[in-house]
């Protein structure tokens, strides 16, 4: 599962930073049929979470209403240099993770 993360490389302590993540995933709703009429099993990313310096700062329960290749954006406060680590898991149990580091000054 490929993903892209965008956060500022650097920030000043106390800055509100924008965090963006785009994950490649079909987000199969469970309502569609394949070419021969069989129902395609639901398979969506159901939890996406982000830890910043080991502390969870964001968690989302996604469901079948979210489009394929979900894009999520949120804000957090730059407190210390460290990693933002994303983890997600889909209905089939496939896990994905991605991390990026930020340098905080001041």
């Amino acid at each position: 599962m490929a993903a892209r993360i965008q956060i500022p490389r650097e920030a000043r302590r106390g800055d509100v930073i924008e965090v963006r993540i785009l994950i490649q995933h079909p987000m199969e709703t469970g309502y569609r049929h394949d070419d021969v009429g069989h129902l395609i099993k639901r398979n969506v990313i159901n939890v996406l979470s982000c830890r910043y310096g080991g502390v969870e700062v964001f968690r989302a329960d996604l469901s079948s209403g979210i489009s394929a290749n979900p894009y999520v954006q949120f804000y957090t406060v730059a407190e210390a240099s460290g990693d933002l680590e994303f983890n997600w898991i889909d209905d089939e149990g496939q896990q994905g993770s991605e991390r990026q580091s930020i340098v905080v000054r001041g």
Binding site: A2, R4, Q6, R20, L22, Q24, P26, M27, S67, A68, N69, Y71, Q73
Partner: protein
């Protein structure tokens, strides 16, 4: 006197030529509008956002595939940095000098793979082929598309034009009925576009994934209840040449975001 007459003849010839070319191109250059002009502002913003544009997932994959060996070589071992591909896609489909056949970018990549790299050709619409075509096309971002319909390409161009104007399917429509005669008007909730190929491969909301121009053409054919041709058929290729010629001057937008 003689000179004046010659000048008059020249002017007349220019006039005739002008009329002929104006007749040839159904939408004059000044009125050409990319498909993105017919989108809502939200989708246009998504396309222009280099990060959030979902097609960029394929572009990124393409960048990896570019330097991954397939068979004996990788794309990068011959072409070096993909920046060398800037401008390349803007002139496809074009005639291959070695065998005289019309090739689009998909065909060219597969020709490279089977003849030079010793790798298996990639399947049409496969994730790998979409990723590579998207990555290579991305190198030509914002360059105007142009094409040559001279020489051996002429016959393909004429075939493509005939295909474009052929009435098909239960609705008995040709491409021209919507995309030349009715663009800008509403078809149910959608605005009919001019039908230009400058953003493909593109991410289509209806598909929830990336797709090639051929897939888009097949969707159009299905929409007018006509028979869909198989991937890789000559008719699509000829039609692609005609579409590119018809859209000359529009900038490459790959990966486009479309409804």
């Amino acid at each position: 006197m003689k000179r004046a007459r010659a000048r008059l003849a020249l002017a007349a010839a220019a006039l005739v030529a002008g009329v002929a070319s104006a007749q040839e191109r159904p939408i004059p250059a000044a009125e050409l509008k990319s498909g993105s002009a017919f989108l809502g502002s939200d989708l246009r913003a998504l396309q222009n956002d280099d990060f959030a544009n979902p097609g960029m997932l394929w572009v990124e994959r393409g960048a990896k595939l570019w330097s991954e060996p397939a068979g004996k070589l990788s794309c990068a071992s011959s072409h070096k940095d993909a920046v060398s591909m800037r401008g390349v896609v803007a002139s496809y489909p074009k005639i291959d000098k070695t065998n005289g056949k019309l090739l689009n970018l998909d065909n060219r990549i597969n020709q490279c793979r089977s003849e030079r790299m010793g790798a298996e050709p990639l399947r049409y619409e496969s994730e790998e082929l979409l990723a590579l075509t998207a990555y290579i096309a991305r190198q030509s971002l914002r360059l105007p598309i142009k094409t040559s319909i001279d020489g051996a390409a002429r016959a393909h161009f004429e075939a493509g034009r005939a295909s474009y104007h052929l009435r098909r399917g239960q609705m008995n429509l040709s491409c021209a009925h919507c995309h030349d005669a009715q663009w800008g008007k509403r078809l149910l909730s959608e605005t009919i576009s001019q039908g230009h190929p400058n953003a493909y491969p593109a991410y289509r909301m209806e598909w929830q994934t990336m797709g090639s121009l051929e897939r888009r053409l097949r969707a159009c054919l299905s929409g007018i209840r006509a028979e869909m041709l198989p991937y890789g058929s000559q008719e699509y290729l000829d039609l692609e040449l005609f579409l590119v010629w018809r859209a000359q001057g529009l900038p490459i937008e790959t990966p486009g975001v479309r409804r």
